[in-house]
Subunit: 282 residues, 2 copies
């Protein structure tokens, strides 16, 4: 298994991609990205990821130089060339090379295939601790590369023995640094509606759960955390991770809750079903 990349029209080993120093993604953090993964070799919800990627680019006044169809074709080629059974797929678009370090130019467009991260079983079995932090991402609906705060807070996480940081702003719960947040309160599944990234896994969970449970997208006050019976975070690579503690507050019984476990099961089944269907279509 080898990881290949696409860089402005060229295919090359991902580790060999090098970008010029005058790129605005590097000099000025002017870049958007998206990240999807395969299940059984098939990019999972590729259309949803691409739609979001195109929206992010548009919010930054950047044009993606390929159609969605063409991007899917390139991803297929990269996976085939590298004989990747499973992979992460990172799409990046930057403001391009600027002579004056500020003016947008032809964007640099990169598609990387990557090794999938591995997360330890314990986090799924025992749940994790979050700590709250007062922060709202810039342009929350845009998947920009601005993760300065997330990385800077890693030493705080270590000190507090916590797994992730839960961003809150003006008394409202928003999202985790790279994931969406859900809580369960009296049998109702709730997730913040505004000023958060519209995660693809978040959307899948809302769709899956609405067949069986009450679901609500709404503002969540920080003070509601005390009343939560269950909580979990979700994202493309971590999937669904139960949350059992936030700051010093135990959530529910301090163990992953039954609704969380049910949603984890439903999601697992979906990944099998989806890749099964996709394979049959091939």
């Amino acid at each position: 298994m080898k990881f290949y990349a696409y860089f402005n029209g060229r295919i090359l080993p991902a580790k060999d991609v090098r970008i010029g120093i005058s790129d605005l993604g590097l000099l000025r953090s002017y870049a958007v990205f998206d990240y999807m993964r395969t299940y059984n070799g098939i990019p999972f919800y590729a259309d949803a990821h691409l739609t979001r990627f195109f929206n992010s680019a548009s919010e930054l006044h950047l044009s993606i130089p390929c159609s969605k169809k063409r991007i899917k074709k390139i991803i297929g080629n990269l996976l085939a060339k590298g004989k990747c059974h499973e992979a992460g797929i990172r799409l990046m678009l930057t403001g391009g090379y600027a002579n004056d370090s500020m003016t947008l130019n032809h964007p640099n467009f990169i598609i990387l295939t990557e090794k999938l991260p591995h997360y330890p079983d314990e986090i799924y079995k025992n749940g994790v601790k979050l700590i709250t932090y007062e922060y709202q991402r810039v342009l929350p609906l845009v998947k920009s590369t601005n993760y300065l705060t997330a990385i800077r807070l890693k030493s705080l996480l270590n000190r507090k023995n916590a797994y992730e940081v839960l961003y809150c702003y003006k008394g409202e719960i928003l999202e985790v640094s790279r994931n969406n947040f859900f809580m369960v309160k009296r049998g109702v599944i709730v997730t913040p509606s505004e000023n958060v990234l519209h995660g693809i896994t978040r959307k899948i969970i809302l769709d899956l759960a609405s067949g069986k449970f009450k679901v609500r997208e709404r503002k969540i006050k920080l003070s509601e955390l005390n009343l939560a019976d269950e909580a979990f975070i979700c994202g493309t690579s971590k999937r669904i991770v139960p949350v059992v503690k936030i700051d010093t507050n135990r959530i529910g019984t301090g163990r992953p809750g039954p609704i969380t476990r049910e949603i984890m099961n439903m999601f697992s089944k979906l990944t099998l079903k989806y890749t099964g269907e996709a394979n049959r279509k091939k």
Copy 2:
């Protein structure tokens, strides 16, 4: 005149510096920089810039792999090798290459010499218009590469026929996207004290002006703009630019004010004096 760069121990033409795609400056906007310029070939206030650069790095838990003395030596070598009479000098330090796209590694350290930007005479003679925008930079005392908002607002500046955006937050005036802000009110020169970058030019102006005028570093309310007699912005490459309009409000007479012009003169004299002295010391 040719522009050379230092990249992790190597000297090469600046245009040939390329960084691997897994760099955290690129993937996650985790990078700090500083920018100084020469006058008559001598880096202006190099020690002040380096002190700030080291502080920025420290705030991001990054270590700069060279001493200040060594960096000054490298800068001297780059300028000499490129026969640069005048140049901009950009120092950059990123979170390094990360296999997992999140974990800090040995920083990548780059020193670039660059062509100095040229600004039209009119902005100094006639002054410029600013527009206010509700925003506070993340870690305002750190010179990080996070300029997403600044670049994204360029189209708004064009539409509003404005030169720069003046960040305001919760009713207070902060700074311009790449410059500090000053106003003159009843003969007193005032600049925001908190939540702004501590600009080197800002400090020089405070020192210069305090010999002749009353100067104050304090919070400035947005509502005070109506009472300003003069205003200006300042920075390393733009130096001092008079401000004659903010949003729809004319500042003072709508022409660069006498105290602003006086400070522009004092600053020009300092650059001549400083480089003269530095040359004599050589």
